[in-house]
């Protein structure tokens, strides 16, 4: 059935037989260059902070900025992409059929997707997990205090299973009430029909910041029930393209680590403070050739969208309506879990 992916598989196998010294260019990257556009995944509507549409009918959000970064890395122009609106159910078939080149769409890295669906995942760029939010006047801070309480969840999600599992593990008696849609769930919680509700951490924070009268009247409990790595997904069989995506993410993290920002990138490139920055920004050769890109790709990319911290702050963090704490999504050196491979 998957004619195109098997074709790509054969192509990749053929490429693998070439001598290892010559850096083979990824067939996907070749296709993107020929086409002159990168096809990214959008959303059918919006997904707070990750994929949204602004007043000028243009896409924005964390995932969109990462797509723009990847476009700049490959094609040198942040706008040379086409964001294809996709529903959740549609995203993997759309990738397999070639409707998009890459899925950057708040997509968790799971074993099933990695193996059975024939995908490959990049380094995780975001960690979010199941958490509880409760009414502040209950005076509770952790899930243990939910004894005898009513918990609302969205029906049929992993969140339902994870929270039931967690609460029975720590021995908390509770009543679980499930709702069909997220909107129903929110309304039920706001109307005080449940003491707490379980959801994906970033969504809870967004909800607290935007849809509830007084954000301080609600607490997100400290228990982190799960943590899901969110990665970019690509078709199996094009390792070089995975390298490009991984190093796109890595370069954004290294830039943040080294203090290279959208504002100072040109200056840093002219007078690199250390050899790592010099290599990153293409003042010293080596960055481009090994990926089949230009030596200055990272510099252009950071000039266009900024480093990872800037992208995060603009879409989810301090400079956005959500004001979502970086938490796990900070650099390892600031108490988070994001890190880049070594740039040598």
């Amino acid at each position: 059935m998957l004619t195109k992916s098997s074709f790509l598989g054969i192509a990749a196998a053929a490429l693998a037989m070439l001598p290892a010294t010559a850096m083979a260019e990824s067939p996907t990257v070749q296709q993107i260059k020929e086409r002159g556009t990168l096809l990214c995944s959008g959303h059918n509507g919006s997904y707070f902070g990750f994929v949204e549409v602004n007043d000028k009918n243009e896409w924005k959000g964390l995932d969109i900025d990462l797509c723009r970064a990847l476009t700049t890395a490959i094609l040198g122009d942040p706008n040379a992409n086409q964001i294809v609106p996709l529903s959740w159910a549609q995203r993997f078939p759309a990738l397999q059929s070639g409707d998009v080149d890459v899925i950057i769409k708040a997509t968790g890295w799971t074993m099933g997707r990695d193996t059975e669906l024939g995908l490959q995942f990049s380094l995780p760029y975001f960690f979010g997990g199941t958490q509880f939010m409760a009414h502040g006047d209950l005076g509770i801070t952790e899930a243990k205090d939910l004894e005898g309480g009513t918990i609302c969840v969205e029906a049929g999600t992993t969140i339902e299973r994870i929270s039931a599992n967690y609460l029975s593990t720590i021995g908390v008696e509770h009543t679980m009430v499930s709702y069909e849609s997220a909107a129903e769930l929110r309304a039920a919680y706001v109307a005080n029909r449940c003491d707490a509700f379980a959801g994906w951490g970033p969504n809870l924070a967004v909800l607290r910041a935007t849809e509830i009268d007084n954000p301080d009247a609600h607490v997100i409990l400290s228990d982190q029930l799960s943590s899901e790595p969110i990665s970019a997904a690509m078709r199996q069989g094009d390792e070089e393209f995975v390298d490009v995506v991984n190093w796109m993410l890595a370069a954004m993290l290294i830039a943040e680590e080294e203090g290279v920002t959208m504002a100072n990138v040109e200056e840093m490139a002219a007078n690199p403070p250390n050899p790592k920055v010099a290599r990153l920004l293409g003042a010293e050769p080596g960055m481009g050739e090994r990926l089949g890109l230009r030596d200055t790709w990272a510099r252009e990319m950071i000039a266009a969208v900024g480093n990872f911290g800037e992208v995060y702050d603009r879409n989810l963090g301090a400079n956005s309506p959500y004001n979502l704490d970086r938490g796990l999504n900070n650099l390892w050196s600031h108490g988070g879990v994001l890190y880049a491979p070594i740039l040598d």
């Binding site: 059935m1 998957l2 004619t3 195109k4 959008g42 959303h43 059918n44 509507g45 919006s46 997904y47 707070f48 902070g49 949204e52 549409v53 602004n54 007043d55 000028k56 009918n57 243009e58 896409w59 086409q82 294809v84 609106p85 996709l86 529903s87 159910a89 549609q90 078939p93 759309a94 397999q96 059929s97 070639g98 409707d99 909107a183 967004v206 910041a209 935007t210 849809e211 509830i212 009268d213 956005s320 309506p321 959500y322």
Partner: protein, 363 residues
């Protein structure tokens, strides 16, 4: 109509007060019931009026006055700020006039094809070709020297209208064809129609659309794929046709067999009997259910959200899908509901008009 007043006894009092007293206040319990029911209705109407008009915030500049809770009135500021997203979806911002004109072209085509003056084969076909060509040329743009907008970028109201009208226009003749095939005396033709109709009808629309949009490109070679929007329209039209064929079948069953035989006895050909005797009656019998199908189809176009089309429902969701507008989803839904209502109500009224028109022939 006239016979009703003839059979009813002449009413002794005709003043409004007297009628009211008789109908609503004739006994204490009647009076209580009337007061309670109208009290509740008035209270509901007042609450709605108060929320939607009196306490509402109208302009996007005053968005900071919009409350997030239940205390405040409607925040129409969200419509002020986001109406272009709702109406045009992802269509490029500076090209919205094209999308507006295209929507007007489709509406004009539909209205014109509803007028009996246009009901000759040549006129109606010309009208549709001109109407849809205008829509396509304006929306796509590259053929008339405007900036090209691929179908991925189409959205909002003009996409909804386009999907709806192309599905109905393609589906209606297909449905009639399938209904005729189903009545055919040739076993192969009849069998084909029966199997196709039953097969398509036993699939949910969602699955049909998903298959057309997502699965077919995986199976077919890329030169045969075509644009996603055409695949979806064809699949949707096929779905519509299979239901509509059954509606027509009901119409055919209402025609006595003797009429076909009479036609044959008069020396009319199959097509003459069909076109001049049977079909006009079939249409009349099938009209109420047909209007029903058309209205349902208009609403079902919202399902295309699942295959990534930015129809008016999807763009409405995107409109309140950002931090600053998230609390005001209710206002956006009300706005979109009014748009749907305006179109569907007009369709229903047109159906009533047609019924009245056809009733003339039954007198």
């Amino acid at each position: 109509m006239a016979d009703i007043s003839a059979s009813a006894p002449p009413s002794p009092t005709t003043s409004i007060g007297a009628t009211l007293r008789k109908r609503a206040f004739s006994s204490p319990s009647d009076t209580a019931l009337t007061v309670i029911v109208f009290g509740i209705l008035l209270w509901l109407a007042w609450t709605l009026f108060d929320w939607a008009i009196l306490r509402a915030i109208w302009s996007a500049e005053n968005v900071d006055q919009c409350g997030k809770g239940t205390g405040a009135g409607a925040c129409w500021a969200v419509i002020d700020a986001r109406h272009r997203l709702i109406l045009f979806g992802l269509y490029p911002f500076d090209q919205h006039w094209r999308s507006t004109l295209a929507a007007v072209a489709i509406i004009a085509t539909v209205i014109l094809s509803c007028i009996p003056l246009m009901w000759t084969a040549r006129r109606i076909v010309t009208l549709w070709i001109v109407g849809f060509a205008t829509y396509y040329l304006l929306m796509e743009g590259s053929l008339i020297g405007l900036q090209q907008v691929t179908t991925d970028g189409w959205g909002g109201l003009s996409l909804t209208l386009f999907l709806f009208s192309s599905v109905v226009l393609l589906g209606m003749p297909m449905g009639l064809g399938l209904a005729l095939m189903r009545r055919s005396k040739m076993p192969f033709v009849r069998g084909f129609a029966v199997v196709l109709i039953d097969f398509v009808r036993s699939l949910p629309l969602l699955v049909t659309l998903f298959t057309a949009a997502v699965v077919i490109p995986i199976i077919l070679p890329s030169w045969l794929e075509g644009d996603k929007i055409w695949r979806v329209i064809i699949a949707f039209a096929l779905f519509f046709a299979c239901y509509q064929a059954e509606v027509f079948r009901g119409g055919f069953q209402a025609i006595p067999k003797g009429q076909f035989e009479a036609g044959a006895a008069l020396g009319l050909s199959y097509w003459q009997t069909l076109g001049r005797i049977v079909l006009p009656q079939v249409f009349r019998h099938a009209l109420p259910s047909t209007i029903n199908m058309v209205v349902i189809t208009f609403k079902e176009t919202a399902l295309v959200i699942i295959i990534g089309f930015f129809d008016i429902m999807a763009s409405a969701k995107a409109a309140f899908g950002t931090g600053e507008w998230a609390p005001h989803y209710l206002e956006v839904y009300v706005f979109v509901a009014l748009i749907y209502w305006a179109f569907i109500f007009s369709l229903g009224q047109y159906g009533e008009y047609l019924k009245g028109r056809m009733a003339i022939s039954e007198r």
